[in-house]
Structure formats: C-alpha cells, structure tokens
Subunit: 329 residues, 2 copies
C-alpha cells in the first residue's frame, strides 16, 4: 500500500521502475504536470487515477476530486486547464445511479473550473474486482509565456506561502470511513486552483514553485521541493494554519496535520520582492482567503526541511515512507 502513498516508496517506484523503463527526461522532472512543446505551444499535461474510499465524503466525491485534482496539477505548472479526459473503471453491479451522481459531480466541477471534458472511456470489471468506481482524469492546458514553475527553482530567500488551512480533506475522508465519527463537521477542501494561480501570476510571472500538497500532505511537498532544488526550507509550525476541528481529529488519531492530504490547497515559493503583492492577490481570491506565510527557503541544511516548534526548538521534517491514510484520493 505504501507504494501508492505519495511518499518515499512512491518516489522509488517512479524513479527506479517507471522512469528507467521509459528512459526519458520529461518524466524525471518530478513535477505535478509535465511541460511539453507541441505545435509551437507550451502545454502542461497531467494524469491521475482516483481510488478514494468511500466514493462520497463530506464536501465532495470521487468525481469532483478527480476533476479538481487534475485541474490543480496543471495549475501547479501555471497552466489554466483547457481540456480533460475522464476514464471510468466500473465494477459490475455498481448502481447506475451512483455512476450518474459521480458524472454529475464531474460535470459541475468541470464547469466551475472552466474546463471542457473532451474525451472519455468506460471499462467494466467483474464484481469483486473493483470498488464500484475508479476514475482517471488527464488534462492539458497552456502555460503562459515567461512562466517557468518547477521545484528545482526554489531559491534561498524565497518566501513559502500556503493558500489556506490544511488537513481538511484527509480528515473528512477518514471521518466517514470505517464508521469513525469525530463529532465535528470537517468537510473536504476539494476545489479548483486555476483561478487562484492566474491571480498570482498577474502579480508576477516569476513564481518559483507551486505544489498542491495532496497525498503525503504539506510536509511531503516541502521535502520534495527541498530535495529537488537542493535548498533548505524552514517552517514555523505555529504559522501553519490548521483548523481546530482538524487539529482535534488529528490529536485523537495520532496523525500529524503536516502529513494529511489536501485537495484544494497549494504551497508557493515566491521571490521575496513579490511576496507581499502575491499574498495580497491570494487574500483577494476565494481560494486564497486563508493564505499565510509559513516559512522561508534558506541556504543552510541543503535538501532538508526543518520546523521551528512551538516550544522554540527545531525538528527535522522527513519524507514519509508511505501514506498515513491510504486511498485518500
């Protein structure tokens, strides 16, 4: 299960098995979406399969999650999603009503994100060989001229900004799984981030890094960016916005909110001279209303993420081996 968790085991699989088998450099760039040239245009191209369990959870379902997830992966290259594909693997016997509700949610999410579902596929596997509905979405979008957003560009001095409170998606899914009840109403943060990113790019095309901290949470995203860029990252724990209900649920379950999945949040590495203006642009957008500066990029401890704890100490933030919560997306 750990190999699907988005942590170190997933990274090993990508690097040693897939990138080796495919033998190319585009895949090895380790971005959320690939930047490719086609017909003179610079495109972002991304794919994700969704196996979240249960299919419906507070704040969303596998359908809007699948649309927003790929829209957001494209946005992390600075691209506005233009076209999506959707491919279903249905389990024999799943109610068409369930498939219909998922498709309706996808249509509504696509409409909200301003993206067109252009092509699709449906396969059916025997009862007992699936989980009702698995969905894959892939997407393409244009990368605006002058934009070059990738983890390798993190630079000492960059200001690290998160777009809103973290941890809600993972806790919301967990709250309805296995009958757990926390007595609180945590709803998933699933949302499209293309509009927020467009607002940020209006301030400056020179954003260094964008990443949506899904599987593995904020900590995993920061570790990957530190490793890819060879810079250090310092995070002030108390500056990281965590909703009280999420903190309570995490305390109860022994989870660290830094490692819990988000589906409508991004972390940005912004050159210091643009940080105030970018933060203001984020605050002016509904998806960035809760944006906060959580740290900086430093030349000390290259490749490593360090958190300043509430007690005034520091601790190393590690890349997790697998995922605390399997099948979160």
């Amino acid at each position: 299960m750990g190999h699907g968790g988005g942590g170190a085991l997933s990274g090993e699989l990508t690097e040693h098995l897939f990138a080796a088998a495919y033998g190319n450099e585009t895949l090895a760039a380790l971005t959320d979406s690939a930047a490719v040239e086609l017909g003179g245009a610079r495109l972002a191209f991304s794919t994700d399969s969704y196996v979240v369990r249960p299919l419906f959870f507070p704040g969303g379902c596998i359908g809007d999650l699948a649309v927003n997830g790929t829209v957001n992966d494209l946005a992390m290259s600075g691209a506005r999603a233009a076209y999506l594909s959707t491919a279903f693997i249905l389990e024999e016997g799943v109610a068409l009503d369930v498939v219909g509700r998922v498709a309706q949610a996808m249509g509504a999410a696509a409409s909200a994100a301003g993206v067109t579902v252009a092509t699709g596929d449906t396969k059916v596997v025997e009862s007992g060989h699936g989980d009702g509905v698995y969905v894959n979405t892939s997407g393409i979008g244009l990368i605006p001229p002058g934009v070059d957003i990738r983890p390798q560009r993190a630079t000492p001095g960059d200001v690290v900004v998160v777009s809103g409170p973290i941890g809600a998606h993972g806790v919301a899914v967990l709250s309805v799984r296995e009958g757990l009840e926390f007595g609180s109403d945590v709803v998933s943060d699933t949302a499209p981030l293309g509009g927020l990113v467009a607002s940020m790019l209006e301030v400056t095309p020179d954003l260094h890094v964008l990443r949506d901290p899904t599987r593995g949470g904020l900590a995993t995203s920061l570790c990957e960016i530190a490793a890819a860029s060879g810079t250090g990252v310092v995070v002030t724990e108390s500056a990281v916005p965590v909703p009280e209900s999420v903190a309570a649920a995490c305390g109860f379950l022994g989870l660290d909110p830094l490692y819990v999945a988000n589906e409508g949040r991004l972390v940005a590495f912004v050159p210091p001279q643009h940080a105030d203006a970018v933060l203001a642009a984020m605050h002016a957008h509904p998806q960035g209303a809760g944006a906060a500066v959580i740290g900086t990029c430093v030349s000390e401890h290259p490749g490593m993420v360090v958190a300043r704890t509430g007690l005034g100490g520091t601790r190393v933030v590690d890349l997790p081996l697998g995922e605390q919560l399997p099948r979160i997306c």
Copy 2:
C-alpha cells in the same frame, strides 16, 4: 459487463449519462480521439483504461496494448502521437517484477511508436480490489493541416479498406484465458498505427474516416460509422481477411470474427479517386501489408451495414448489445 463492451450499451452510457452530465459537444462527436484547439494548434486528445485479463498473452501484454491503443486512437484523427501519460492502479501484493515487465513493455512500445511518456501516476488498492495491474494511458498529438477525419464524413462512393487480417487479438487473449487451448499459435495483432496513417495521408489528406476496430470488432466500427454518417455500408464477407487459425477458433467457440477485437488494425473510408493509391501506400507499409478492399459506402439503407454472404445472399450486420469477450483490452 455489457456496459464496458464497446457496443450499444456502452454507447447508451456515453450518450445518456456522461455526455448529459458534462453537457458539451466535443464529447458527443463519438470519435476515437477528440479534436481540440489549444494555443493555435489543432490537437487530438484521447484516453483509455486497460483491464485486459490475463495481463500477458501471446503477442503482447497490458503494457504495449495500453501504449498502442492510445497511439492508435490518436492516429484515427490523423494525428501522430507526441506525448503519453500512464497511470497505474496496482493491487496490493502484485509482484514488482510483474509491474516492471509491464513498464518495460510500455517503454519499448512507446519507443517503437515514437511517443514520449511525459507524465504518470500510481495508486495502490487493497488486495482483492483489483486484478494486479490496471493501466490508463492518455495521449496528445498534432492533427496535420487540412486533415478532417471523423465518422460523420463517410460518403456514398467511399471505398472501405481494412489494413490487415482481423480477429487475432481477441482470439489470442481468449486462448490463454481459462486454460483454453486451440492447438494453434494465434498471436495478438497489437501494433502502433501512426506510421501507417502517416503514409496514407501522404497520398491524400482527404481520408474521410479512420477507425481501429477494437472492442466489438470490425462490425461495431462499421455500424457506428454508418449511424454517425447516415450512409449505408455494404461489405463483401469473402473479401474480409480472416486468418485460418482465427476462423477455426471462432468456429469452435461460436464467435463471429467480424465482432472480435483487433488492436493493430484500422478500417478506412477512402474517396474512390484516391482508393488505389491509398491501398498501394498501405501495402508498402509493414502494418498494412495485408490491406484489402472489403466494401463500399452506398446511399441505400442509410445508417445500416449489410454483408454480402458467401452464398450470394445478404444479411444485416447489427451493433452488438455488449461484448462477446469481456475484458479484451
């Protein structure tokens, strides 16, 4: 199971459930790949999930099938595949060696087709919730200027050409499933068709329709083209190339080769003035060496496919409800 078979039930699902939910026209065009505009370029965009069982079969495996399938869907719009995405849903406990062999096959197939795997994803589901490996591939490619290939363009007078002998893929997969043995060596026809289509387009950009007869076989492709264009199609049964070993296996199993899946064949509707030259170009290409004229497009019986049988009679070729052989791709 029938809803995943590529026949009438799949069509209903696409038309009434997905196209309705997504509310757009691109999806409703019913082509193998969508033609979209982005950054001034005309792109083909396609997706397919693969759930073939078993994963390895004579002549190929789920890996090369997944690469060739999407390469071919793009080729059916006249596009040469440029970039692919690959997304895996792995079942917990599947041997990494198996995943590695699939990935190696994908790398080799991508290399043979001249396409770059640009982005990917891996999810893992619990043991018992998958079948080892499910793969999704999506792809993009450029549609050359002046090319407008879609089923609606079939016109009375068009010559109907198939690129080679049919039925091998379906029979090859079936031969190793459930321990069936036919005493013959039928291997899958899985192959990339981008090069063959490029050769055909060198003769004329004015090919009317291209389709790769996968799920549901040649009969389903012809029925879909007849319905989309509102023209009639007449096929001479004795002109359709069927290998002896495939015919024998189909006879044994009570299958009609016209409905058996192919993964390296195409059917083309060619304006009569270009038919000889296109056929010659096909014969000159390794993937079209066995090409044959099998029929014509007529103004009689609009929307219907009729076969001239060996006995001199005619029969209506119907769209199947589902698939004779589930999980063939």
